[in-house]
Point group: C2
Chain length 297, copies 2
Amino acid sequence: MAYDGVETPHGKVDRMLGGAATYIGLAASYFAPVKIVAVVGDDFAPEDVDLLAAKGIGLEGLERVPGKTFFWAGKYSPDMNDRETLRTDLNVFADFQPKLPESYRAAPYLLLGNIQPALQHSVREQMNGLHLAGGDTMNYWIRDYRAELLETLRDWDFLLINDSEARMLSGEYNLRRAAAAILHMGPRVLVVKRGEYGAILFTGDRHFIAPGYLLEDVFDPTGAGDCFAGGFIGYLAERGVNPRAAAVDLQEWRRAVIYGSVMGSFCCEQFGVDRFRTLTRDEVEKRYREFKACTDF
Amino acid sequence: MAYDGVETPHGKVDRMLGGAATYIGLAASYFAPVKIVAVVGDDFAPEDVDLLAAKGIGLEGLERVPGKTFFWAGKYSPDMNDRETLRTDLNVFADFQPKLPESYRAAPYLLLGNIQPALQHSVREQMNGLHLAGGDTMNYWIRDYRAELLETLRDWDFLLINDSEARMLSGEYNLRRAAAAILHMGPRVLVVKRGEYGAILFTGDRHFIAPGYLLEDVFDPTGAGDCFAGGFIGYLAERGVNPRAAAVDLQEWRRAVIYGSVMGSFCCEQFGVDRFRTLTRDEVEKRYREFKACTDF
């Protein structure tokens, strides 16, 4: 969990609630009960806790320690397809060792946000009744922590990364070849996120191409990838998908990708987490139906 | 019609058959009878004429004049998403004034390749029984021939352009806003091509998002956009779509976009027009079904 400073062509916010756990948790909370494991400093605002609590998000695993909350600042390019990082202050996050409360350990669904692979691995090891586990990673871990990352990935059911990360991880430019290589690293499901262009789901030798939702206004793309992850795992949890017990209907993975895209698209409509202050499940369902209407032929 | 020199990460060809009319004609020939209007020099090879004739393409409107055929050379970036033009020799194309043979004038379908808007307009004016007319343009005409282009577009039923051209033509970055502006310029149908990411069809206040087909190997993207146009108009012609006589089922436009994507995807599988030497309609139908299988949810 973090505070972010963000500048887009639509405006500038010096400090607002952010972080992968925040976005993933908010998006997933529309589908299933969520519990967060994260660390914040003593500057973390009560109203930010209140927002998460109001969505029913469990915060027993939210560690508060003396010091400042992780801070990131970035500025988007005029077309918002690129961003420049202006500042990264790890603060209390530097010494974070996630410890799951006892009440979390039997949860059936685990989404590991983008942190050091060894920490992701340690969280995975603390769980004892998983139906489904997976997560995200990034270029930094792929390049500089490769062995640790590969060791971690071996136990995951799914991996969610963007196209350039998939290329870096696999060493293949072509996405079909990249996916084939990654599916040999452990995960049986790979989702390659392509920003505004949507996502591709790879399952064995099949794939599903989901276009991005065409927004009328994109105010701030920060958190969209994490909201995708939240919608994806949230839908699978709501449906009780459990590949350890029974073969999963491919359509369920596909629908999870669409719900991920839906949640990512809402995220971009306002700055930071603001869209989730008012978003309803009815609006989520309406956009899912719009997705269907816009892609049917 | 042209000769192209192309270098991609997969190889280099110094001189091969190319040009918008060639690619559009070849792709459309899988769906409906095609007649080409174009100019070539006296260097135009008999075997290139033979390839077109073997596909049943009418060449009465192929003008041969003393001099050399238009020549273009370019080099693609390692990821093949960008290309640099190395040479453009207009040659006999510089004085081209397209004149339709009498036998062409009553054809019901017209696809105008990317040439000077006034020439496109003059071709349109020579037709006398159109069901459907439209075409392509590019940044150069949008920037430096804007008034002439706007005058030309007014009579078109559809416009096929890529995303950066749509932004330049409309002055809007957001594609939904760009499309709304362009649909006020004349065409009732706009197709925005997005390269490997597919295409978006805008019809009134509805849109259809088609993802790109995920190729295992992309050898040479040259001509893919023109093959998209050929598949698009070819399918509409095969189906006898005629908005002047009756409202068009939206699904027909959508299927035309998918057939366009199918033809564009085949084009990339080999250098230049080579894929069309062996491609069959059965393969086209198989890929259409794959598109459906890869996008259904």
